[in-house]
């Protein structure tokens, strides 16, 4: 009897909650668009600011679906490849633009941009425009935020270890600094470098090291180069550095683990995305706000080696709400939105890295003084068409812009991870990678 009463009580509460929820779901707006976004902090901010600003002004309701990066890629690919049209706006990166431009999977933005002078295309870095345009020179995505890569380090730990990090360090200098700053007694690793397998995880920083060592995945005429000397030297250096002075459990460390280590004070140096400043310089996220120094991506044979990436919005090929979709994209990628974030959430959270104007903003410069020059310099210097010492078959710094690269990069990264854990040598790992790369190259050789 007691149980029955309890069951009835719980059922009543559940049904009442459902009824309340159903009744309080807001009525449909005059116009709605569906947007698929990656769950990065800048996108979460966009989600919270849209209703009270964009929807209020335009009357267009925006329905967000937010997913982690891997799930997002699967979902976007499925949606645009089948023309399902579940989403009007999808979030993609330069890799997807390079593969999908001109295929009908995503729409060209040229006519929309031309009709919208307030978007101010001229304010956007040319490297961003180039990276988000197809070989037909048409723009296919609007950048939400851009990033390069740089070296981040704890100034206090460097001073304690008697180390001076140059503004433009070499990898040899970084390795020497990591050795001095490595402090096992206090649980501080000298450096954090991504070891987590994945083409967008481990091989994002690692490919930039390969580039500056003079290596490449493929030559201009599609000869695979994965076990060539510069490639092997670069990976050997990276693996040795991580094994000697890197974070614990290196093959489990991606961006998240490294940013957490930096925020918690367990890592002295970190080579990764410039967008990491939004986390490590954020009060409430990081215990060492204001204690970080910044330097350009370390080099060996090239003058610079930072990567280039942008998370950008594109209109799905099957969308029938092109005009409303662009209105949202135009607002979210505008300098007006950057200012809104700066005022409401702080300038460290502003989705920077795409427009030149924000780097002239006094308020932004005050907050970002420690890193804005390095970020700006890195973004301007990044050259996806010539990232190393030899011509490449496709554009892209930390990736090769062919659909097969995602699988190839991930497979080779798994072999490199085995080398990090001592299960095989770097040469053995890259010999296996070479065979996989040759299969990809065979598809493109003329």
């Amino acid at each position: 009897m007691k149980n029955r009463k309890r069951l009835v009580a719980v059922s009543t509460v559940v049904i009442a909650s459902l009824a309340f929820t159903a009744l309080t779901v807001p009525a449909k707006a005059a116009s709605e668009i569906n947007v698929l976004m990656v769950g990065n902090p800048q996108m979460k901010d966009l989600q919270t600011l849209t209703a009270e600003n964009f929807t209020k002004d335009s009357g267009i309701k925006v329905n967000f679906t937010i997913l982690p990066e891997n799930e997002l890629r699967d979902k976007v690919t499925l949606d645009v490849s089948t023309g399902a049209g579940q989403y009007d706006v999808v979030t993609i990166g330069m890799y997807e633009v390079a593969n999908w431009a001109g295929t009908g999977k995503i729409k060209s933005l040229d006519s929309l941009v031309a009709a919208d002078p307030s978007w101010n295309k001229a304010d956007i870095f040319p490297s961003m425009i180039n990276g988000l345009s197809g070989t037909d020179k048409k723009l296919y995505a609007a950048p939400f935020y851009g990033e390069s890569s740089m070296l981040m380090y704890r100034k206090d730990l460097a001073k304690k270890a008697g180390v001076t990090i140059p503004l433009r360090p070499t990898w040899a200098q970084v390795a020497a600094a990591a050795a001095k700053m490595n402090d096992k007694k206090n649980g501080i690793a000298g450096i954090c470098l991504r070891g987590l397998p994945g083409w967008g995880e481990q091989f994002a920083p690692l490919t930039t090291v390969v580039n500056t060592y003079g290596g490449t995945w493929f030559t201009k005429d599609w000869q695979a180069q994965v076990n060539s000397k510069p490639f092997v030297d670069a990976v050997s250096f990276y693996v040795d550095l991580v094994k000697k002075y890197g974070q614990p459990a290196p093959t489990q460390a991606g961006f998240t683990e490294c940013v957490n280590g930096m925020a918690q004070g367990k890592i002295a140096m970190w080579y990764d995305a410039t967008s990491a400043t939004a986390s490590i310089e954020k009060v409430g996220f990081s215990k060492h706000v204001g204690q970080f120094g910044y330097a350009y991506a370390p080099v060996v044979k090239t003058k610079q080696s930072g990567w280039l990436w942008a998370w950008a919005f594109a209109i799905a090929g099957a969308s029938k709400k092109e005009s409303d979709a662009w209105k949202f994209m135009s607002w979210a990628t505008s300098s007006k939105y950057e200012n809104l974030v700066g005022e409401k959430l702080g300038w460290a959270a502003a989705p920077d890295g795409k427009r030149a104007s924000i780097y002239a903003n006094a308020e932004y410069k005050k907050t970002a003084a420690a890193y804005s020059d390095v970020v700006l310099g890195s973004l301007k210097a990044a050259n996806p068409l010539n990232p190393g010492v030899q011509p490449r078959p496709t554009s892209g710094i930390q990736f090769v812009a062919v659909p097969e690269f995602a699988d190839l990069g991930t497979a080779v990264s798994q072999e490199v991870a085995k080398a990090m854990t001592g299960k095989q040598t770097v040469k053995q790992a890259l010999d296996k990678g070479q065979k996989l790369a040759e299969k990809v190259a065979a598809k493109y050789k003329k």
Binding site: S11, N34, N40, K44, L67, T82, T256, N260
Partner: protein
């Protein structure tokens, strides 16, 4: 005349072994509960305190993670999960109970073959069926439709429910059914007036298992829904980010998403235990 001595099994276990068993059971219970407790603890912390290593027991208390969870709109996701879970469980029970009757109390011809056929639908990995399902739903314009998703959940869990209910019904004495037949009760009356009340523990256990499987289902939900029909697991995974810290927020949303399952389990716990024990005897 010699007498045969038979060693009787010991009726009572010693105090020491009972104590050890209790301690071991408590240890196991706490071990299983600890991740839930830790998730709850982390959900009330700031991100900066959530990822400390070694972990800290005490950190400043905050409700901001829960505020963020509800600020970005958890309602529609929870509602969709409730519709899919409750709806599919009701339909499954309505279909599985008569089917289990026909396979246990009054076995139809080739009932074993039918059972194997039911089970064979679980042999195919769900990922292998994903693309065909996606394309069919797309052609029928049923992508991002909660009712279409509910139909698939019915299909996914029906074989399991039939097998479970069959094992419960097989425990019921045939004489009960025969007595009802002698009194002139129709098959439907036997089912719902005689068998359903007796089988409540089994029905509760089956319902809860179907409810939990549906509530937690992710693969289909993430691929065939968009904004309109997305369920709680899709909402949850949106808090995982590749750039930034998310442990505290993810813990908060995990607690919120798990609550309905915990409530359902609590409401049905007595019947669930007896129902699961019944199945275990079998």
């Amino acid at each position: 005349m010699s007498t045969l001595k038979v060693n009787k099994p010991r009726q009572k276990t010693s105090l020491a072994s009972r104590f050890s068993l209790s301690t071991f059971a408590w240890f196991l219970g706490l071990l299983f509960f600890f991740p839930v407790f830790w998730t709850l603890l982390i959900s009330f912390r700031q991100e900066v305190d959530a990822g400390t290593f070694p972990p800290k027991w005490i950190a400043p208390f905050t409700l901001e993670n829960y505020e963020k969870v509800f600020k970005v709109g958890a309602k529609s996701f929870l509602l969709n999960s409730a519709i899919a879970s409750i709806g599919s469980t009701i339909v499954i029970l309505a279909l599985a109970f008569p089917a289990a009757y026909a396979l246990s109390i009054k076995p139809i011809k080739k009932s074993k073959d039918v059972l194997s056929f039911f089970l064979s639908t679980k042999f195919l990995p769900p990922i292998a069926a994903l693309l065909p399902i996606y394309l069919i739903l797309k052609e029928l314009q049923l992508l991002d439709n909660i009712f279409a998703l509910t139909v698939f959940y019915v299909a996914m869990n029906l074989p399991l429910a039939v097998w479970l209910l069959r094992s419960f019904l097989k425990e019921i004495p045939r004489e009960l059914v025969e007595a009802a037949e002698l009194d002139g009760a129709s098959t439907i009356k036997i089912l719902y007036r005689v068998l359903v009340p007796i089988s409540m523990p089994g029905i509760a256990a089956t319902s809860l298992i179907c409810f939990i499987f549906t509530w937690n289902e992710f693969l289909l939900a993430i691929n065939v829904t968009g904004f309109g029909a997305a369920t709680a697991p899709v909402y949850l995974v949106g808090f995982v980010t590749a750039e930034g810290l998310f442990f505290a927020q993810l813990s908060a949303v995990s607690i919120v998403v798990s609550l309905p399952v915990i409530i359902a389990g609590w409401a049905a716990q007595d019947k669930l235990v007896s129902g699961l024990s019944l199945g275990a005897v079998k």
